[in-house]
């Protein structure tokens, strides 16, 4: 009996022993590909990063598939967009992950939005009459490179806490990422500068940070309210508004149906542009820099074609 007991004990100790994995790469899971892309910039080859949602998928409506539970079970760190973007699918996944490290409040849970600049914080009473409104502000904040820097720094700090030996490595990479972003941001801003104040319409409220950073003015949405599909009356009102304001661009996320935007485009002569809001939104967008490269290139091309200026 005794040898059996000690054997079981030894097996248990071996199973729970963490030092064996101390030298292995940190296993990071992010909810979106944008966070994964930023995490790769600062984590380099000392972390392995995987995202749950694909970039061409609506991040509000991800299915809580059991295969994601397996990913979370092995994660050392979970990075989430926050602001209730993932409220519809992430909580049951975390709960079923059996992973104490990544439970909300634990050291392996990082809400990337905490330091970021968040727009559209609702004022006053929030009700569902406003549609699927996010009570903690607009969660699409990663579309501002300044926020990208902030998120990069937050992830680097967290990685440094988890691997103190690699702290300088992560910090150096974070600083390098920020410097490269600064450079790129200068380039992007100068490309967009001639079109400052350009009026656009977007499908969902996915681009407020992008619009603010690059000087676009969003005057309306194809959705009458967040998360509510277009209605004929709202579409007619929007067409009228677009004609008055001479709006030449309708920006649509890759996961929305193009029927209504195309109808609006035909009525108003505006160009309908599928503008990926995330890394992985199309094949070419493989990292955080390419996201802005691609989107700005697409925008400028469309504005020129539409005879914007």
């Amino acid at each position: 009996m005794k040898p059996v007991l000690s054997g079981v004990l030894a097996a248990l100790i071996a199973a729970t022993a963490i030092p064996a994995r101390a030298q292995a790469k940190l296993n990071v899971i992010t909810t979106t590909e944008d966070l994964a892309a930023i995490g790769r910039e600062v984590g380099g080859d000392r972390v392995s990063i995987e995202a749950i949602a694909r970039g061409y998928q609506d991040p509000h409506f991800v299915e809580a598939k059991p295969s994601f539970i397996l990913k979370l079970q092995r994660a050392d760190l979970l990075v989430v967009v926050g602001r209730e973007l993932e409220i519809g699918w992430l909580p049951p996944l975390i709960q079923q992950s059996r992973n104490a490290r990544i439970q909300p409040g634990a050291s392996g849970y990082l809400d990337a939005s905490l330091q970021a600049r968040i727009l559209e914080m609702p004022q006053g009473q929030v009700t569902r009459a406003m549609g699927d409104v996010h009570p903690l502000g607009n969660p699409h904040y990663w579309l501002d490179p300044e926020n990208g820097k902030i998120v990069g720094r937050a992830i680097a700090t967290k990685l440094g806490e988890m691997r103190p030996a690699d702290k300088p490595f992560f910090e150096q990479r974070s600083a390098d990422f920020a410097a490269r972003l600064d450079g790129a941001l200068g380039r992007w801003s100068s490309v967009m500068a001639p079109y400052k104040g350009m009026k656009v319409v977007t499908y969902h409220r996915s681009y407020p940070n992008f619009a603010e950073r690059f000087g676009l003015e969003v005057i309306g949405y194809v959705e009458p309210r967040p998360g509510i599909p277009p209605t004929p009356q709202h579409t007619l009102d929007l067409i009228g508004e677009m004609k008055r304001e001479k709006v030449k661009l309708v920006l649509v996320e890759p996961y929305f149906d193009l029927k209504t935007p195309n109808a609006i485009g035909r009525e108003t002569g505006a160009r309908v542009l599928v503008l990926p809001p995330s890394v992985g939104g199309v094949k070419d967008i493989t990292d955080y820099f390419k996201l802005f490269d691609y989107d700005i290139n697409l925008l400028v091309g469309a504005i020129k074609q539409a005879g914007g200026r």
Partner: protein, 447 residues
Amino acid sequence: MLVFRRVWTRLVLAGALVAPLPSTVGAQSLPESAAAGTRRAAADTQDPAQAIKGEIDELKKDFNARLAALESRLAALEGGAKAQPQSPTPPAAAEVPAGAAGAGGPAGSLPVYGGATAGSKIFNPDIAVLGNFLGAAGSNHVRPLPALQMAESEASFQAVVDPYARADFFLSFGEQGVDLEEGYITFPTLPGGLLMKVGKQRAAFGKVNTMHSHVLPWADRPLTTENLMNGEDGLSDAGISVARLIPNPWLFLEGTGQVFRGDSGSLFHSSERSDLSYVGHLRAYQDITESTNLDLGASYSHGHNASGVVDGVDVGRYTTDLYGLDATLRWRPLQRSIYHSFVGRTEVIWSRRQQPNGLQVASGVYASGDYQFARRWFAGVRLDRPDRATDDALHDQAQSLVLTYWPSEFSQIRGQYRRTTYAEGVIANEVLFQFQFAIGAHGAHPF
């Protein structure tokens, strides 16, 4: 502190505005214009001004006293970090019951925690209420439904208990009474990769038994589970559930073991403390493509039934064994996930029920398909072929067509045509219609 100062400034300003008012009121009785009256009132009348000044002083004194009281209360709330100018209120305390010290417990008084947060809503659970209104038309003489009913109002309360657990309560208000549909604590991070749930819960037998009625793609429950698994309520009991992921390199595999008291409506009946019922469930899941996946399950349950109970004494000691297989195929294209999806599902249930008249070996199967053809529209079909658990010679059949419209994620309107052929030879043609709506912060649904 800043707030109080601001209030003080405002009050002084307000006082300054209000101060000339009585004099203007007095001036109105004069024949001159109001403007002239004001000027005159400001110029001469010494006595009223004196009186007002006195009043302001009075107000000031009163305000200062109140401010000091409020400040001291604030300081007390902040944990008494700041010096308290007023006599400090003694900290709330509870007497340790006599004898506790002798038993090794603490002596003296214990601090009472939570005082500062008692008035706060921060730690309130997420609360939601789901309404389920069900109407029926047509005829059914075997199992009639009321023409119109508020079939269920489900109130849910969900929150994290502490760093180790969360709790979920689902109270189901029918038109007659209240029932605890589920109420359990979950320990998600036990050692050994175990997920433990303790409380009243729907048993992990098959697929549809675990679902609340508002997440079903139909207005009713399948006739198969109705016949073989205790109707609407299903297999649901107070007990302990432990689930573990079974590591393997190929697929998601989860084993669940549950022990219940052994009371579950018409299905299980516990006459003695040892008459527990048991549920075992094995679930396998695999992504086929990023849009398509397959979910398979096998279930077993065992417990005592009520058929041997005579005058409250279980003389027969009869038991029931249930076996189940379930398969679900899901398809949802990632890039158009909010517009199109398909769920195909089937469950087979075998029931071996010992009865005074012999062993009844009944079985049942249902198969259903639900296709989302537009963002707000779902169409579905369901076929049922169950025996009756208490008489395996009786075979029922049912076919349903379902159409569902979702105004938003939080409400849905559903119509269902249901044709049931009962073993008695009765055919029931019915149209069910259902309104479902949710308010509050309802949590995510299980996959």
